[in-house]
Amino acid sequence: MDTSAAWKAQYPIKEPGNLSPRIEWLRNYYFRGLERPWNNEFTSWGTGEPWDVQYDETTFYIVPETYAFFSTLRASFIQAAQPVELHEDFWSWSLPERKAWFIKEVMVNHLPQEILPGDLIAGARFNIQASKCWTREETAQRDKLMYGRKGARSKLKWFYNRGYGNAGATSGHIIPGYEKALRIGWKGIHANLQAAFDALTQKEQKTRKGAQIRAMMTAATMPRELAAKYASLCRDMAEKEDNPERKTELYNIAGNLDRVPWEPATTFWEAVQALWLTHMLVMSDENYPGPGVSFGRMDQYLLPYWEHSLSSGMDRESGKEILKCFWVHANYAYDALIRMGDNQGITAGYGQLINISGMGKDGRDMTNDLTYAILEVIDEMSPILEPKPNVRLHRGSPDQLLDRVVDMISTSQGSPFLLNFDERSMAGMMREAKRAGCENLINKDNVHDYASVGCLENTMVGNDRSGTVDNNLNLLKAVELTLTGGKDLIPAVDPITGKQEKIGQDGPATGDPATFKSWGEFWEAYSRQTAYIISKCVDLYEATESVRARYCPTPYLSCLVKGCAENGLDVTQGGAELNFTTLEGVTFATTVDSLLAIKYLVFDKKECSMEELVRALRDNWTGHEVLQAKAKNRAPKYGRDDDAADDMGMKAMDLWTDEAWKHKTLSTNRQFRPGMLSWNYWIGSGYIMAASADGRPKGQFLSNAICPSNGTDTNGPTANINSVGKVLGGKAGKGNGDWGEYLNSLPNGSSHTITLNPSLLRDPEHREKFKAFLRGYTENGGTSLQINILDAGMLKDAQSHPEDYRTLLVRITGYNAYFTTIGRELQDEIIARESHGCY
């Protein structure tokens, strides 16, 4: 039998279900992508001045794939910009006031308003590239800071091309105060701003502080005026509508818009409408569609409206129908660059994250009917990318919720949501409060209110910008520099010109490691190099952060972040009550495994000298295959629940996280905090970074986030999980942890992915075991888990690249075998079995 043909034909892809004709049409229409006559791609808007600029590259400094396009994108948006007629006083205003006015003018009076057929929520187009509203002088000054010889861009390229990683002040990645916006309406927000302004002295009103609050007041009227436009559009459409049901719907939408988001929401429909408009305008304000602008605990703050509407006669399915429309809207973020790339702008999930379920005060479980309704919506709409769901679990999570979660995992290709684990996450937030001295804002009475941004990055809500993706540092670089006494092991190459750059003494001169007599000396040098790479990252970040703070205010978003009005500072200037920026440690396992291998090969077993090892790495292991095999197979590894190896992991973790806490941004006084999210950097940087002592050649992937290196977790998923929990700090005695007995040195959280065999979920008996597995993760694991289910695609890849999958275990009803060690015929059969769900 030709298994590959059968595979294509039979592979059971998850299908959406229980969709009304309305939702089915809206969902299908969305997925028609470029064929759609309507879309939400970026439109560009300008002042008409010759120096005008729209595109801000700093927000993409963390996306290396875009580096080559910066100048092109800047030029194209300038060229495409439609001029907006400016207010006669425009150039006399402060920059934040210009910005607030301009965005509002574009959104209300220039960008077309539309309602898609059958849609129950208004607010369609929001992707814009708007003028930065700079004067000629501001443009020149800012460009000098960016593109001068020591400017941000050249710092970035230096940093990236040498394999340190990347950093940049990035938009999004925040949970705005949506709950409050629904509760008091924009009217309330505006009134508060007015009060803050009135509280200023007349002198202060004339300063930057006064200007900032005035700008925010302008921004705060944008939702009201846009809602009015949509309301009148709905009424026009209703008048022309023949279908009486649709006519009524359109009048109802108009009625909603008459009230919200200006007035407080009363019904569920109003609340979802208000939430969407408020949210989409954040993306307009930042010119940044989606990534990380997250909703927080939606099943908690929408619950009063949900219950109110249910008790006043809303049918539960109608409530879900409103949510499904909201789901479709969130996906239009991807339209921004719909003509770029080969998947119509849809790349990875953008991460407009929602949290559901989780702990409340006193350890109470907060799962409710809306939690389940949202899970139903996810299940019925999936596969769909946005909004990205993250289910919070804890010791007290009810069985019913776990049943639902496990059920959804077993019927999808991998988990349709991330899982967040409250106890470990809250321990991290408590650690943050202590280390940053903000226990008044994060403490045992409110830490359960935390929520996740983007994927799994934990922050507080409505008052917290933690720059969760802003600094991505390859921790492995410090090992490389230790092996060379502070110089690159191999010359950096400019990816555009292909030119090799000269090797210099970049890091501290920690000496020739061949002269080190003990592991202790090596560790000492490694510690200094770690301090150095972190300070280098902080320096690059400062270059972008200081420019953003001066030139890129986002007054609308600032209205939704507590502290900005009070401090009279934009959120980009450190206005939020909680101001962090997160240093994401990338390549953790590769780093730990490299340290373990150096200790094992050179110091403990004396399998080779330090010179030999360094030579092998310079030669990319070519001609040193035996040593490489020893590094790979003989040296201990993180991720096997081996206490000695995991102890090295913990020491490396303590070292770099302690270093991170030592830094703050100079321009905005934001405290650095540690986290471990690797996005896709572990792939790209693998081609830049030299070979590493764990046996990895240049060109092979690095390790991802907090996960053990690919294929090293030979003791299976539970051992892998235990190792992850241990390097985060594990547990202390009762009450001696950061939260309860839990310790956690990563307040941001840590991304952890494991791949499981589908046979673990094959029947009710095994699904019970899997529930217990998740409860075990709550005790021993990290902050967050993505579960992938082994599928035919991965097995086929393992057939072609057996070297990457040496420990891939397949289980066929309890019988285990290492996939790559069995014959081709049996492999084919197993692939075919997985494809058909016959495990």
């Binding site: 039998m1 059968a6 039979q10 295959e625 035996v626 040593l627 095999a629 020893k630 790979k632 197979n633 003989r634 629940d641 003791n715 299976g716 998923p717 539970t718 051992a719 235990n722 673990l760 095994h766 019970e768 075991k769 217990a772 597995f773 409860r775 075990g776 005790e779 021993n780 057996p802 040496r806 066929i812 009803t813 309890g814 019988y815 285990n816 075998a817 790559t820 060690t821 069995i822 014959g823 049996l826 059969e829 075919a832 079995r833 058909h836 769900g837 016959c838 495990y839």
Partner: protein
């Protein structure tokens, strides 16, 4: 390649060698997140050494009580270190990779210690009690959350009974649920010494006919069935073991015929009282054929197809109609794939 075919008839001159040590045991593997060897999430400790020679054996590397050398082609980098260090010249390199002359090899472990890529590997090693317990209870939290625990399997733990008894006792003292997976081919007092520390027993009845049992496993089933009856009497008068699962491998050309299944069922119903809480028919599995190749062993079942689903359903039907409580009958294992008929 040199091969040492396993014949049930050469019983069992070497295999009966037991390990009477209570301080160390030869353990093949410790498998975590086991979901098939008893209730909940378990860690299964595979002992080396088995008194039976089942021709269909799924774990040929567990038959011998001694550590065994294995070479894995996909892991080998071809450096030749093993050949250089072998003091017996038992290793040669050829078109098919490394060949082990198992008559010359003395299991001195030089090659496996020096192999940089772990392609040359000893299956099984000695563990002392303390280190084994420390390793085995690392998943305690998963046991607690799932109602799982630790299963002693193999091979047959009864081949290293003194150690197994101490291990079980220590685990019970740790408050861990214990399961014993045994062939039952041992002296009654050996079994009796293990049972006080066992919460549940997994026990095979492979074949009800004593002659056929001898033909396929090398021994008659007499002692096995006697011990099983003894076990059930023991359970009736003691609090633990509280659970007994019977497993029957359904092997085409051997145990897979209706009269066998019915006969086993009648035996369970008439002789074992209410002690059996689960009777599982396990379908023939061919995944292990590459293990035989790596151990230079011939396997008479290597070309056998899997059972069909209908066939397994049919046997399960026979089992349910054999006089046992039908609710205790389960079947598991792979079956022939039928495309589009999940």
């Amino acid at each position: 390649m040199r091969s040492l075919p396993v014949k049930a008839t050469d019983v069992i001159k070497t295999g009966m060698a037991k390990n009477n040590s209570s301080s160390a045991a030869t353990i093949l593997e410790i498998q975590r997140l086991s979901t098939e060897d008893g209730p909940g999430i378990r860690t299964t400790i595979f002992f080396k050494g088995c008194p039976l020679r089942c021709t269909w054996c799924q774990n040929p590397e567990s038959i011998s009580i001694r550590p065994q050398l294995q070479w894995t082609e996909t892991a080998c980098i071809g450096c030749g270190t093993c050949i250089d260090v072998c003091p017996e010249n038992a290793l040669t390199s050829g078109a098919e990779g490394i060949t082990i002359d198992r008559h010359l090899c003395t299991s001195c472990e030089m090659c496996s210690r020096e192999c940089p890529s772990a392609a040359m590997k000893m299956l099984g090693r000695a563990w002392n009690l303390e280190e084994l317990i420390a390793e085995a209870i690392k998943d305690r939290v998963y046991f607690e959350k799932s109602g799982g625990g630790i299963t002693l399997s193999g091979g047959d733990p009864a081949m290293q009974a003194n150690f197994a008894a101490l291990l079980l006792k220590s685990l019970k003292e740790e408050g861990i649920h214990t399961a014993l997976d045994t062939s039952g081919q041992c002296a009654q007092d050996v079994l009796g010494a293990l049972l006080p520390h066992v919460d549940m027993v997994l026990y095979d009845i492979k074949e009800i006919d004593p002659d056929r049992h001898r033909e396929f496993t090398g021994v008659s089933n007499e002692k096995i069935l006697d011990n099983l009856v003894y076990l059930c009497r023991y359970m009736e008068t003691h609090e633990t073991p509280a659970d007994l699962w019977i497993r029957t491998p359904v092997i085409p050309g051997a145990t897979a015929y209706e009269e066998n299944i019915r006969g086993i069922g009648r035996f369970i119903a008439s002789r074992l009282g209410n002690s059996v809480s689960r009777w599982e028919l396990c379908s023939f599995n061919n995944l292990c054929s590459s293990k035989y190749e790596r151990l230079d062993m011939d396997w008479p079942f290597k070309d056998r197809p899997l059972m069909s689903r209908e066939c397994m359903e049919n046997f399960a039907g026979c089992a349910r109609g054999s006089g046992v409580d039908p609710d205790i009958v389960h079947w598991s294992g792979p079956t022939k794939m039928e495309v589009g008929n999940k």
